[in-house]
């Protein structure tokens, strides 16, 4: 347990050392999403209830948290799992995975606070405290999935250029394929049927429901939770393989 805290502390110390750069990223990302996507699209989707600028806040929150977590975790993976000294330390793979997950939840929480402050000051009273905590709780499985997804990408793709392209594709996927900025009902029915199997879209629908004071679909939450466990299982074995260099 102690190792988990030390590993988290190490990464938080890294953030502290570059606090302005990190804060800038955490601040700028939701701002730009609002400015370049929400503002113009709010003039397109004028019939959406509640008004688009409130509905889309869950999308901004969702994209900014998950994308930043993905990027920060990719950096963590690069620093930790390709370092032979780290591999010689008496740390269990489960401790690495847990520390990475807790670290992502902490960073995600800070990102969500910053995003909510920005959005609350830009739109009109969009989120109460209860809604904020409900949204964050609903997002936890998605955060865990994203942590492990970054591990899977790091494991499968070694070329930095291709990883950069993957980052762009992930941004496009999170922003435009699961209903973050464009309502899903505008997509073909066949596509909606496929995308509904991806746990992210269920999480997003629940967040949109929380903001619109509509009931949460708990079955979607549990499906996301199941996926997060499945991804954690894969992530654990990837770390175990990296730590013991089975492929070397």
């Amino acid at each position: 347990m102690n190792n988990i805290f030390i590993l988290i502390n190490k990464e938080l110390l890294n953030i502290k050392k570059n606090i302005f750069q990190y804060f800038f990223i955490l601040f700028l990302f939701p701002c730009l999403l609002y400015l370049f996507l929400t503002v113009p699209l709010s003039r397109v989707f004028i019939n959406l209830k509640p008004i688009y600028s409130i509905w889309v806040c869950s999308g901004i929150l969702f994209v900014s948290i998950l994308f930043n977590i993905y990027v920060l975790n990719s950096n963590w993976n690069l620093k930790l799992y390709d370092n032979s000294f780290i591999k010689s330390l008496p740390i269990l793979s489960s401790e690495y995975l847990l520390s990475q997950t807790v670290y992502s939840i902490i960073v995600g929480f800070f990102q969500s606070i910053i995003t909510v402050i920005i959005l609350n000051s830009l739109s009109i009273g969009f989120m109460t405290f209860t809604q904020f905590f409900k949204c964050f709780f609903i997002m936890l499985p998605a955060i865990i999935i994203m942590v492990n997804y970054s591990l899977i990408v790091g494991f499968l793709v070694k070329n930095q250029f291709i990883i950069n392209i993957y980052n762009c594709l992930l941004f496009l996927f999170l922003s435009f394929s699961i209903g973050s900025f464009i309502p899903l009902n505008l997509y073909p029915v066949e596509y909606i049927n496929i995308i509904s199997y991806i746990p992210f879209s269920g999480t997003l629908i629940n967040m949109q429901n929380i903001i619109s004071y509509q009931p949460v679909f708990y079955n979607m939450f549990f499906i996301s939770l199941f996926y997060s466990l499945l991804f954690s299982f894969i992530g654990y074995y990837i770390i175990e393989g990296k730590m013991k260099n089975y492929n070397e």
């Binding site: 102690n2 190792n3 030390i6 590993l7 502390n9 190490k10 110390l13 890294n14 050392k17 570059n18 620093k79 370092n83 032979s84 000294f85 780290i86 591999k87 010689s88 330390l89 008496p90 740390i91 269990l92 013991k244 260099n245 089975y246 070397e248």
Partner: protein
């Protein structure tokens, strides 16, 4: 004597090529054990296998009685590993870099501070504790990496080429500390620096073709070579061609080499040298030299004789 590290018929393949084949050897507790070998001979792989970083394909490795395959975490907690490449967290200072890893080895913060201060004073980097690794010289980085590897006072210290490309000052700091302050620890290190291996180890092993060719003290190694000596003849002018031809046909001459007017060779028989000298006297000679073999000579001798 108690064994610290034991290899039993260990084999390792890398990309279908055999790196180590049926490797067996032991390292006694408190030994300074030097492993020398050519580049790519598998020295670093052996160290990585002991520290659990890479897996063996066959055989067993025991560290202080623990089977690495079964008790990896116990093994990791009693070893200190210094990798060949410089690996630091560049956003953290030297102090933070050492401190974080000390904490991961379970040292509490108060003791850790004292330990880092003591180590940094002994190893001469106290003034650099608040610097970032990026701004330090390579030699200093190696000294800090050495300090990081021994922060938790490990029983077994694994050093992968600790002083390669290191300036003489940093090198002597590291060796002085190893010889004076780590007498009770088992030091297992790889090196391409034969002087270091000859001067600072009490046991040397030569790794060749995936197996240990020689294993013992330097004096034993010299004895095992049956009086192998290095002979040098310096001619006044260019070496005569018929001299080179005749010598190269002599089966008792090992690893002969020449450049312009200097002819060098190894042999275990001095009689042979005198015969050659007699032949060389047909031309004008400037200087002659006979010297005992050092580790580098033995190593070269092994490589040549095995290749032949």
């Amino acid at each position: 004597m108690e064994a610290s590290i034991t290899f039993k018929s260990v084999a390792k393949k890398i990309k279908s090529e055999t790196l180590l084949a049926d490797l067996s050897f032991g390292v006694e507790k408190g030994t300074r054990f030097a492993l020398v070998g050519t580049n790519g001979s598998g020295k670093s792989s052996i160290i990585k296998m002991i520290s659990g970083i890479i897996q063996k394909d066959k055989g067993s490795i025991y560290v202080k009685g623990y089977d690495i395959g079964l008790k990896l975490n116990e093994v990791k907690s009693i070893i200190g590993y210094m990798p060949q490449n410089t690996e630091f967290d560049n956003d953290l200072t030297v102090y933070e870099n050492i401190s974080i890893y000390g904490q991961l080895y379970g040292i509490d913060k108060v003791n850790l501070k004292k330990r880092i201060t003591d180590l940094s004073k002994d190893l001469n980097f106290y003034d650099y504790l608040n610097l970032y690794p990026k701004s330090m010289s390579y030699g200093l980085c190696r000294v800090v990496m050495f300090a990081r590897a021994i922060i938790h006072k490990p029983e077994i210290i694994l050093l992968d080429e600790p002083t390669s490309n290191v300036d003489p000052n940093s090198r002597s700091i590291i060796w002085k500390y190893i010889c004076n302050s780590l007498k009770d620890s088992t030091i297992f290190y790889t090196t391409n620096n034969f002087n270091d291996a000859q001067n600072y180890s009490n046991r040397i092993s030569i790794l060749y073709n995936g197996n240990i060719k020689y294993n013992g003290t330097f004096e034993n190694l010299v004895n095992n070579t049956h009086g192998l000596a290095r002979f040098t003849i310096t001619f006044k002018d260019k070496i005569p061609n018929d001299f080179i031809k005749t010598i190269s046909l002599n089966p008792k001459i090992i690893n002969s080499s020449y450049s312009d007017n200097i002819f060098k060779f190894y042999s275990t028989e001095k009689v042979e040298y005198f015969k050659i000298l007699k032949f060389a006297l047909d031309s004008e000679i400037e200087d002659i030299d006979i010297s005992n073999c050092n580790l580098e000579d033995i190593f070269k001798g092994i490589n040549i004789s095995e290749d032949e």
